[in-house]
């Protein structure tokens, strides 16, 4: 008998923890939404003193350029290699350009660039804001009658949101270039077919614009999570480091989930025939 009660108690404890985890996360989501709303309302400073936002575009966007461009190049090259392997079995190797371009513009550009942005820029933003909170710099600002959300948080948010679409576009462009390098120069697919089939298949509105919309949505999600986790982090070393990890994990999951929803909306619904 005693072993059973112990197991039952253990199970009960697990369910209780799960339940409280879920409720506390839901509460946190509500808090984060109110925070986003407040920050957007108080974005006047970030826009009027655009210098602040420009500095944040530098830290989030420019400093991410290396990883974005290099990763884009490699992803494009791998796509071309793998794609050629499969396409030439069906005699469709001239569609390589289409494969590379559509994969990048519709999915890989926004998603992979978003994931890289979350780990590089998102974690940096969280750590920065969290450390400012831990060293009482945010409180000091409050005491000097300067709203830290308007002065510190909002410029970082808009800097991230503005950087993300540009980074995704650069990723896709580099990827297509990488695909061209491998497909045309290395493997020997006909350059004319590569570009012309790509142009015929990739649509400005349906593919490129949707990709841009995705990258904007991802940018908002990642930067929102990053600034919120930083602002809400417990003001200790351990708290900040946990918050940084949470930013990367939550942003990545959010990107993938949003990607699914957006893809379902954009690329499948509404096509007749």
């Amino acid at each position: 008998m005693p072993p059973w009660t112990k197991i039952a108690d253990d199970m009960r404890g697990r369910f209780e923890r799960l339940g409280s985890n879920v409720t506390s996360n839901v509460w946190r989501l509500g808090f984060a939404s109110r925070f986003l709303f407040y920050m957007v309302l108080h974005s006047g400073t970030a826009l009027r003193r655009f210098r602040l936002t420009v500095a944040e575009i530098y830290f989030a966007g420019v400093l991410s350029l290396v990883i974005i461009l290099v990763s884009g190049l490699f992803v494009g090259m791998v796509l071309a290699l793998q794609g050629y392997e499969t396409l030439q079995r069906f005699g469709a190797s001239e569609s390589l350009g289409v494969l590379v371009a559509l994969s990048l513009v519709r999915e890989l550009g926004p998603v992979v660039a978003g994931l890289l942005f979350a780990s590089r820029a998102g974690s940096a933003i969280t750590a920065e804001i969290g450390l400012m909170k831990a060293t009482e710099q945010l409180s000091a600002m409050e005491m000097m009658a300067v709203d830290p959300v308007a002065r510190v948080v909002a410029p970082r948010f808009w800097g991230g949101v503005l950087s993300m679409p540009l980074l995704a576009a650069l990723f896709s462009a580099m990827g297509i270039f990488g695909g061209y390098l491998v497909g045309v120069q290395l493997i020997g697919v006909d350059a004319g077919a590569f570009w012309s089939q790509m142009q015929a298949a990739v649509d400005l509105r349906n593919d490129i614009l949707n990709g841009v919309i995705k990258s904007v949505v991802f940018g908002i999600a990642v930067t929102w999570i990053a600034v919120f986790e930083g602002y809400d982090a417990p003001p200790t070393a351990e708290g900040v480091s946990r918050a940084t990890t949470r930013t990367v994990v939550t942003s990545s999951l959010a990107i993938l989930a949003l990607d699914f929803m957006l893809t379902a909306l954009m690329f499948t619904g509404g096509k007749a025939g």
């Binding site: 420019v62 513009v105 679409p165 896709s172 990739v202 593919d207 025939g273």
Partner: protein, 157 residues
């Protein structure tokens, strides 16, 4: 890192990003196509449109002259009604035939226009009278099998 260096790099970044977007739009996508040019609308009815989708190209002599804008089902005549936007710089006679063709063996389907000989040209809102539906693979196969079966019977006579 002083202010002017930051400004410089952000400027470079924004220009590079915009250039990438432009590259994607022009070189990769079909911005060069007539998304901005004038078009006029004509209709055609088909018994079977096969795999034709909206935004499929409309070609004549192999050149893209328009796009399918809408496909509807007429519940009274049990036919498909296809709405087509043709580039205004191309005029077609009233007796032009519209056929649903496939590009390549496994390619996507498009509408092929073969010009007739009528002197009067199509106007916006006109209907193409002569149409040929898509080839449905199943019908083709069953036809082939039926022919094979009848051939097989004849030598016995």
């Amino acid at each position: 890192m002083n202010r002017s260096t930051i400004d410089l790099w952000v400027g470079v970044f924004v220009v590079a990003g915009a250039a990438a977007l432009l590259f994607l739009a022009l070189k990769v996508g079909n911005l060069a196509s007539f998304s901005n040019s004038q078009t006029y609308q004509v209709y055609a009815r088909f018994a079977n449109i096969g795999g034709l989708k909206a935004r499929a190209p409309i070609k004549s002599a192999g050149v893209v002259v328009g796009r399918v804008s809408d496909i509807r089902f007429d519940n009274d005549a049990y036919e498909a009604v296809v709405t087509m936007n043709l580039d205004a710089s191309y005029a077609f006679p009233r007796d032009t035939t519209a056929k649903i063709l496939t590009s390549g063996i496994l390619g996507e389907q498009y509408v092929g226009l073969e010009a007739g000989g009528d002197g009067v040209m199509l106007k916006s809102g006109d209907r193409l009278r002569l149409t040929q539906s898509a080839v449905v693979l199943e019908n083709l196969i069953s036809q082939f099998l039926f022919n094979k079966a009848s051939e097989g019977k004849e030598p016995a006579k």
